[in-house]
């Protein structure tokens, strides 16, 4: 399953502060969409609105419309918890649950929600998710060991396994490789490319090479100055954004002549 996400003039606020202004875009299913832009331009804020995670911060709210396969994510009777079950998220720093084994970490989406499953089912889900996250061969002999004993790159893939184990429609990645070394980064990038076969993948990255390597679509965000809202400057096919951007700002940023 994979869903099309549609943003219609979306504004994101933290209390009275407008963090992201007037974003309209369509995120295609079965593709990788990269959000790039300088620090503080609202990429992370925007990606967190896609699964209503920004609401965790008191005072954060959204105006405008966010549709997922035509369904309003911010509709009046929508339960944010249900949204998050369909939209998985991977964070900047690997954050496996320290009290759980590798296997329990993979199954945490089920276990933390008290859903019951047979042992065979649990094993099947664990293997499928770990294989999907390219981690099975490395950990299959130590599934009962704590997840925090893995290396940083392995932990991040464990977090991806945890996210895909619950079979979401969309996977959001907020700078998933910024805390990892180049080899682990390459592993995550390969994985992201595999994941787009099944899921809608949205990735926030500071690494422009990464965006150009793996993404199909690229959105460039920029901010006019501190205290001002971030805006979507250009959104197009990745090749177009990196080789022949329409906007001057985009060209300055992707060519490294920024600021």
């Amino acid at each position: 399953m994979s869903k099309r996400i549609e943003l219609k003039s979306l504004d994101v606020y933290y209390k009275a502060f407008l963090a992201v202004q007037d974003v309209s875009m369509v995120i295609e299913p079965k593709a990788i969409t990269a959000f790039i832009g300088p620090s503080g331009c609202g990429k992370s804020t925007l990606i967190r609105t896609l699964n209503r995670m920004h609401e965790v911060i008191p005072g954060a709210r959204v105006e405008g419309q966010l549709l997922m396969d035509g369904e309003d994510v911010y509709g009046p009777d929508v339960d944010p918890v249900r949204v998050r079950r369909q939209v998985g998220m991977v964070f900047q720093r690997p954050n496996p649950f320290p009290t759980m084994s590798i296997k329990d970490n993979v199954l945490s989406g089920y276990k933390l929600n008290n859903s019951r499953m047979s042992k065979a089912e649990a094993e099947e889900i664990t293997e499928k998710a770990l294989v999907g996250a390219n981690l099975w061969n490395e950990v299959k002999d130590r599934l009962e060991k704590p997840g925090s004993g893995l290396s940083g790159g392995q932990q991040q893939r464990l977090c991806i396994a945890r996210a895909i184990a619950v079979e979401p429609d969309v996977i959001l990645m907020d700078e998933p490789t910024s805390a990892l070394d180049p080899i682990s980064t390459a592993a995550i990038e390969d994985l992201a490319v595999e994941l787009k076969e099944q899921f809608t993948v949205v990735i926030v990255t500071h690494n422009m090479q990464q965006a150009s390597r793996i993404s199909d679509m690229t959105a460039f965000f920029n901010i006019a100055g501190s205290g001002l809202p971030g805006k979507l400057i250009e959104y197009d096919k990745t090749e177009k954004v990196f080789s022949n951007p329409t906007e001057q700002q985009t060209e300055d940023y992707v060519s490294g002549r920024f600021g």
Partner: protein, 354 residues
């Protein structure tokens, strides 16, 4: 060229390793000898050890500083000086602790026998008897106090850290701070006044003691739990939310297990804090010489009160009463020590691994 580079890294000469301890010992010996001389000169034959220590230490410090300054240079001399000051401060802090442990153990072992743990004081005048009734009372009253305080304390802390916003949370925090400062006798008076409403004046009950103790325990548990919940990384909460886990399940299954070890340690410290309380128990639990297993009825003895009454109301065979008091104190100290060990084991086995 290489030799030049090397020489610029080489410092001044170091003092030999044996010099510092040798100097220390010799200065203390010299100081001791001086005191002996003074003592033999005057009429008092006794040697006062405090000047021995002071003169020895000051002499050693001056000597090692001067020698080090000449041979090793300013930086290392300062290092030696500060090391001596820090070590002295540490030893000073340790002296009362060791002295207390030594006194309690040496005086307590006299009656630290089987009879002490199998007998109450019923019909006992003079020698013999034991503190079983007090041990049972302490275990029951502290146990009930823990059963009352731990759920209230943990839930209040969860409210403050995970849910509380605005005025109510600030009020709760404020009153927890105020409760931390409530004198224990006030807690005892409160429990007594509360029970008088239901049972009339002159009421004595183990449960009342437990209420008084839990009043003292709750703020400690709240504070400890609050600190532990605060250090659970927010990333773990977000990871759970992103998996579509509702907030209450996140708290129950992610936040609490992650901080369990710290919370358990905090609870043990809170127990250790109230187990030695005397004043409130004297008021509401009263004192008795007989066994009483029922905290809902009549007076109940506890170890601190046992120690207090044995010492305050000495009988004919004075030494027997004193010995029992010290043995009671030793028992109390051992219970606190065991609780601390348990807390350490808990934090060792439950803390997140990896």
């Amino acid at each position: 060229m290489t030799t030049q580079l090397n020489s610029s890294f080489r410092g001044t000469q170091d003092l030999p390793k044996w010099l510092s301890p040798t100097l220390l010992v010799s200065f203390f010996l010299a100081s001791f000898g001086l005191q002996v001389l003074i003592a033999s000169d005057s009429d008092s034959a006794e040697i006062n050890f405090i000047p021995v220590a002071i003169f020895g230490l000051v002499g050693f410090t001056v000597a090692i500083y001067v020698i080090s300054r000449i041979i090793e240079g300013v930086r290392k001399a300062t290092d030696r000086l500060v090391t001596i000051m820090v070590s002295t401060a540490f030893s000073l802090a340790l002296i009362p602790l060791l002295s207390l442990a030594y006194t309690v153990v040496t005086k307590g072992v006299a009656r630290f026998d089987a009879e002490f743990f199998t007998f109450s004081m019923r019909n006992i005048v003079g020698e013999g008897g034991g503190a079983l009734h007090a041990i049972i009372g302490t275990v029951e009253i502290t146990g009930i106090a823990t059963l009352i305080s731990v759920p209230i304390g943990i839930m209040a802390a969860i409210y403050l850290v995970e849910y509380g916003r605005g005025t109510i949370a600030r009020l709760v925090t404020f009153f927890v701070d105020v409760m931390t400062g409530v004198p224990s006798i006030v807690a005892g008076l409160f429990a007594y006044a509360l029970f008088v409403i239901f049972f009339g004046p002159g009421v004595r009950m183990g449960l009342g003691g437990a209420i008084a103790l839990s009043l003292l325990m709750i703020p400690v548990v709240i504070r400890a739990t609050e600190e532990m919940l605060k250090i659970v990384p927010n990333e773990l909460r977000e990871a759970a939310y992103a998996l579509g886990v509702p907030k209450w399940l996140t708290v129950l299954k992610v936040v609490l297990p992650t901080s369990l070890a710290g919370i358990a340690t905090g609870i043990m410290i809170a127990i250790a804090r109230v187990i030695g309380e005397t004043a409130p128990l004297l008021l509401i639990a009263g004192f008795t010489a007989s066994m009483n297993y029922n905290p809902l009825n009549e007076r109940m003895m506890t170890l601190p009160v046992f120690v207090y009454t044995s010492y305050a109301n000495q009988g004919v065979d004075m030494q027997a009463y004193l010995d029992r008091a010290w043995a009671g104190a030793l028992t109390l100290m051992l219970i606190v020590m065991v609780l601390n060990l348990v807390a350490r084991l808990i934090s060792k086995y439950f803390s997140p691994k990896g």
